[in-house]
């Protein structure tokens, strides 16, 4: 079998290796991604995001059990941070997912952000495509622990689950822009803790306020209380995800198409940006001032970033 056939047939070793090549930005990985692309489009992608320690990994672990009971195969991509100093990382999300290690229906991969901002690694979308082509029915993407503004997951996943816990800040936090706006489903995890009902009420207010501007037929975000380590609330979370999926795929709207177009647009723009930047940086080294020399000129006020950019663009795109 050739590489593409091996991946499409679900060969674990080959899948694991191509994911690594993608992460390392090996040029040959792009040839493989191109060949895999026709095989994509069957997986449903669910994103889990929220602050560090709210229980994202434990929820992913539990919802994976649920999907396995429904006889769906599962791919999991779990992102943890890269050290800005050493470039190294400790990826510990698997600790919560050990029960799946011997299940051939679950493939788990830990990723490091490698300096990428936004809650995912730069490679995440391509990795989703590989797992999709490899026949996983559901792909669960767990972001790095996020703050207020890491909303990239909303453009990668079909359904975004925002996980919070009781007592995470007051109601003012909830009306801020950013992360609170991207949840299709809100989970209040560790719901056995004091203040769970209050957090649910605050979320309801938030949803109520934003729904006033909503059209009939738009999605009403769901709130689910869970206690992930005990498995409580997982059935309700599963139902909420299914409901959102059915809402997107409902025959009489263009929602599904809209979601696909939004993802495709973001991914295409990302690919153009990366490739253009790489190409330009390579060419800079061949022509005129090196990047280091340009930095010197900017610092010494001999030139400025705006003039430099214009010069490069004039030279490269004439």
């Amino acid at each position: 079998m050739d590489i593409i056939e091996l991946i499409v047939s679900g060969d674990v070793r080959t899948i694991a290796r191509i994911l690594r090549d993608i992460d390392d930005e090996i040029p040959s990985a792009r040839d493989i991604l191109r060949e895999l692309y026709p095989h994509t489009g069957n997986a449903f992608v669910v994103g889990f995001t929220g602050s560090p320690g709210v229980g994202k990994s434990a929820l992913v672990d539990q919802i994976a059990i649920k999907y396995r009971k429904e006889e769906k195969t599962v791919g999991i991509l779990a992102v943890d941070p890269t050290s800005p100093f050493s470039g190294g990382a400790i990826l510990g999300d698997r600790i919560r997912m050990q029960r799946h290690f011997l299940d051939p229906g679950v493939f788990i991969r830990s990723l490091a952000t490698r300096g990428h901002f936004g809650g995912l690694s730069k490679s995440t979308n391509d990795m989703v495509n590989v797992l999709d082509a490899a026949g996983k029915d559901v792909i669960l993407v767990e972001t790095v622990g996020v703050g207020q503004d890491e909303v990239e997951i909303a453009n990668s996943a079909h359904t975004t689950v925002l996980v919070t816990v009781p007592g995470m800040g007051d109601d003012i936090q909830a009306i801020k822009a950013g992360i609170m706006e991207i949840g299709n489903i809100f989970v209040v995890n560790k719901a056995d803790r004091e203040g769970s009902r209050k957090t649910v009420r605050e979320l309801m207010n938030l949803i109520e306020l934003s729904s006033r501007n909503r059209n009939n037929g738009d999605w009403d975000p769901q709130i689910v209380e869970t206690e992930a380590i005990k498995g409580r609330g997982i059935d309700q979370l599963y139902e909420a995800i299914e409901k959102h999926k059915n809402h997107l795929r409902s025959a009489h709207t263009d929602k599904w198409r809209e979601v696909l177009e939004k993802r495709a647009r973001i991914q295409l723009i990302g690919a153009i940006r990366d490739e253009a930047l790489k190409t330009i940086l390579e060419r800079i080294e061949g022509h005129g001032d090196s990047l280091d020399e340009m930095v010197q000129k900017v610092v010494d006020k001999e030139s400025d970033p705006y003039t430099m950019v214009q010069q490069i663009l004039d030279r490269e795109f004439k």
């Binding site: 690594r20 090996i26 490091a112």
Partner: protein
């Protein structure tokens, strides 16, 4: 391009042994040396360790063990790697080993054993010098 690859290392504790301070300290040292460490914690079976190593596409498995069960778990892990066509993944051990066991472990393919007193710098330098990331997968058409 290939020399820019980042080393990936699985750090795991096989068997019934909950003392993971050493494993955590070494994991941290690997992080500080610029490696990506997948940490799976305690109580791992050889099957779980090999499955995780393959899915994570690591270059190296670092096993920490203090219980004395290395005479079972280490050979079993090597066997499973062979069965899964994954012998290219190197394995090292750290912890407490009777001296006479060390040559036997090396005989079955364990690349290095680090005993109590091993310096973190020696461990990370050994990894940097001995472990090379594997080559890229290419379309074979």
């Amino acid at each position: 391009m290939e020399n820019a690859r980042k080393l990936r290392i699985l750090v795991a504790k096989p068997g019934l042994d909950g003392h993971d301070r050493g494993a955590r300290v070494v994991a941290r040292a690997f992080r500080d040396a610029g490696f990506e460490v997948i940490y799976t914690g305690c109580h791992q079976t050889p099957e779980q360790i090999v499955s995780a190593a393959i899915q994570e596409d690591v270059d190296l498995i670092g096993l920490s063990i203090l219980s004395g069960a290395h005479t079972y778990s280490f050979p079993r892990i090597m066997e499973l790697l062979r069965e899964n066509d994954a012998e290219d993944i190197a394995v090292i051990g750290g912890g407490i080993f009777p001296l006479e066991d060390i040559p036997r472990l090396k005989e079955i393919g364990i690349k290095e054993i680090f005993e109590p007193g091993a310096k973190l710098q020696d461990i990370t330098e050994w990894v940097s010098n001995s472990i090379r990331p594997r080559r890229a997968v290419v379309l074979n058409r």
